[in-house]
């Protein structure tokens, strides 16, 4: 049977505050275990949590940037469950009355832009970390470090509007881009400051109601999210095709084995008995606060995209791709400053650079080709040092070695052949070797012109100046 895939994503992002959400302990990463703790985040009896105002400010920014409606009145709730990384026995979160609801973000999917709804954005505290002595003497214990306990998080829940693993990945990139533009989260998936869980179900095409979903966890990169979803689509398709039913459960992605595995045992705990936290007073956000936050927002991806289209005269699709991440947009504008031909830069970044980064699953920050090197290479095309075709070889080499284009051209002998005599010699050779084609050409098969150009380029390993080749061929054939 043909199925439609329904995906919704839940993102947890660590907010860039100095102190925790309800106490004054530091949020700095990498400290010695349990040195950033106090009676409040340790969950001692009788303590009083007090909300960090910066957390609200940052969450408001995210809510406004994702076009959410802001609740004038919102409150915190206790989510009750037992786990060793949660010293209080409950997590302070928002349940009813979250700070923001009903927003959306725009993504690019299959060359078109698509809106993905945001169900809600709320604030909560992070849990601690469990460490294990793998292969050591103490394998039968878990070690608990509570430094992360109480670090502020925002949870952003999407509507089930996502239809493919590719769209899921685009959504995450766009969302992370927005958080980075706003400077509210560093977006590091490997370090866990940007985490994603996915809900996925299948339904026969044409059916209105949703099928049974599973929840996927433990995916710590965009690529893993995509792979886990692809695996789960296959798994659920097989189950449904076999006439069986999908079981609603949480499954963990095992990146090493490339499978999702059922997380048995934790299921019966899904009764969190939420209730309003009596220690925290309600939060009231008035219009003035919202307006002030709006004014403080930087240029966001959507706005930057529109500006790029206007200012640089590049296609909307290119502008959308270039502005998804703040760093990529900065890279592009840096290049344009050095080499003021926005369209040429856009082509190189969109085609060569992004393709290369995608192959290696790398971010622009890790790109070995700096704007300076790229601009220098483009100048070399303009001044005739290299041909456009050879430039691709130079680019690949720059990407691999990070060396300057001049050096690569010299090292590999890629200088463009602009010497008239040298080209004439090659053209003569090509014509002599292909008498049949020459005859046909002279009989009127003028399409063969391209064949001769190709042969000359092949003979010179792409180094001949194409204009010169055209000119000489015309002279000798016509």
């Amino acid at each position: 049977m043909e199925f439609e895939v329904i995906i919704g994503l839940e993102v947890h992002a660590q907010l860039l505050t100095k102190s925790k959400i309800f106490c004054s302990c530091s949020t700095a990463f990498g400290a010695e275990p349990n040195t950033h703790t106090c009676p409040i985040c340790l969950g001692m009896p009788g303590v009083l949590p007090v909300l960090n105002k910066k957390v609200v400010d940052l969450t408001l920014k995210v809510a406004l940037a994702t076009h959410c409606q802001i609740a004038h009145y919102s409150r915190f709730a206790r989510k009750n469950y037992f786990y060793p990384d949660l010293p209080k026995g409950y997590q302070i979160s928002q349940y009813e009355l979250p700070l923001a609801e009903h927003g959306y973000i725009e993504i690019v999917a299959n060359g078109e832009s698509k809106r993905i709804g945001i169900t809600r954005v709320h604030m909560e505290e992070d849990a601690g970390k469990l460490l294990h002595d793998e292969g050591g003497e103490d394998v039968s214990y878990s070690y608990v470090d509570l430094n992360r306990t109480g670090v502020p998080l925002i949870e952003i829940v999407s509507e089930p509007d996502i239809r493919t693993p590719g769209e899921a990945s685009e959504y995450l990139k766009s969302l992370r881009g927005i958080l980075q533009y706003l400077d509210v989260c560093d977006g590091n998936m490997e370090e866990g400051s940007f985490r994603c869980d996915a809900n996925i179900s299948l339904r026969p095409i044409g059916q209105d109601g949703f099928g049974t979903k599973t929840e996927l966890k433990n995916m710590n990169s965009f690529k893993n999210v995509q792979k886990a979803l692809e695996y789960e689509i296959k798994r659920q398709t097989n189950i449904l095709d076999g006439g069986d039913k999908v079981i609603q459960e949480t499954r963990l992605w095992d990146a090493a084995k490339g499978v999702t595995l059922s997380m048995r045992g934790k299921e019966d705990a899904h009764d969190y008995r939420y209730f309003p936290d009596p220690d925290l007073v309600p939060l009231a956000v008035n219009d003035k606060w919202i307006e002030e936050t709006k004014k403080s927002l930087p240029e966001l991806p959507d706005e930057k995209r529109d500006r790029f289209v206007k200012e640089y005269q590049i296609p909307e699709y290119d502008a959308q791709v270039l502005t998804t991440s703040k760093s990529l947009a900065n890279y592009y504008e840096e290049c344009v400053k050095l080499y003021p031909n926005p369209k040429v830069i856009s082509n190189w970044v969109m085609v060569e650079l992004l393709r290369r980064l995608k192959t290696d699953d790398r971010d622009i920050e890790e790109c070995p080709v700096s704007p300076k090197l790229l601009a220098r290479m483009l100048e070399m095309i303009d001044d005739g040092t290299i041909s456009g075709k050879i430039a691709k070889t130079v680019f690949e080499d720059m990407y691999l070695t990070g060396e300057a284009p001049e050096k690569i051209v010299e090292k590999k002998g890629l200088l463009q052949v602009t010497d008239q005599e040298e080209v004439v010699e090659v053209v003569e050779k090509v014509l002599a070797e292909n008498p049949k084609e020459v005859e046909n050409y002279k009989k009127g098969k003028t399409k063969l012109f391209g064949f001769f150009v190709g042969q000359v380029m092949k003979e010179t390993k792409g180094k001949a100046n194409p204009n010169l080749v055209n000119e000489i061929l015309r002279k000798m054939l016509d």
């Binding site: 275990p33 703790t37 106090c38 460490l131 878990s142 939060l283």
Partner: protein
């Protein structure tokens, strides 16, 4: 009966508490009388009144985003029944 023995069972399990059969019977009946007592509130007309979540009417109590000194890790671990390597130690939780 508003609360059955099975519900007491479930809540006890969620709270990691163990009770004898007699205790469960007793708590079921006690919880019932509490809930029956709360039913008295049903006699009041509460249409148009927002549910109360807090006894006081204040809102927006904040602190600034400032780091102040935490307690030492030794103090942190002082109440822990088992600690090692600056960490709280518990029976292994993930296989």
């Amino acid at each position: 009966m508003k609360i059955t023995k099975e519900e007491v069972d479930k809540v006890a399990k969620l709270a990691r508490l163990g009770f004898t059969e007699e205790e469960k019977e007793k708590f079921a009946s006690q919880l019932n009388s509490i809930l029956v007592y709360f039913d008295n509130l049903g006699e009041l007309d509460t249409i148009g009144i927002e549910p109360t979540s807090h006894a006081s009417t204040i809102s927006n109590v904040f602190r600034d985003d400032k780091v102040e000194s935490s307690i030492s890790k030794e103090e942190s671990l002082l109440n822990a029944p088992d600690g090692k390597r600056d960490c709280f130690r518990v029976p292994r939780i993930i296989e």
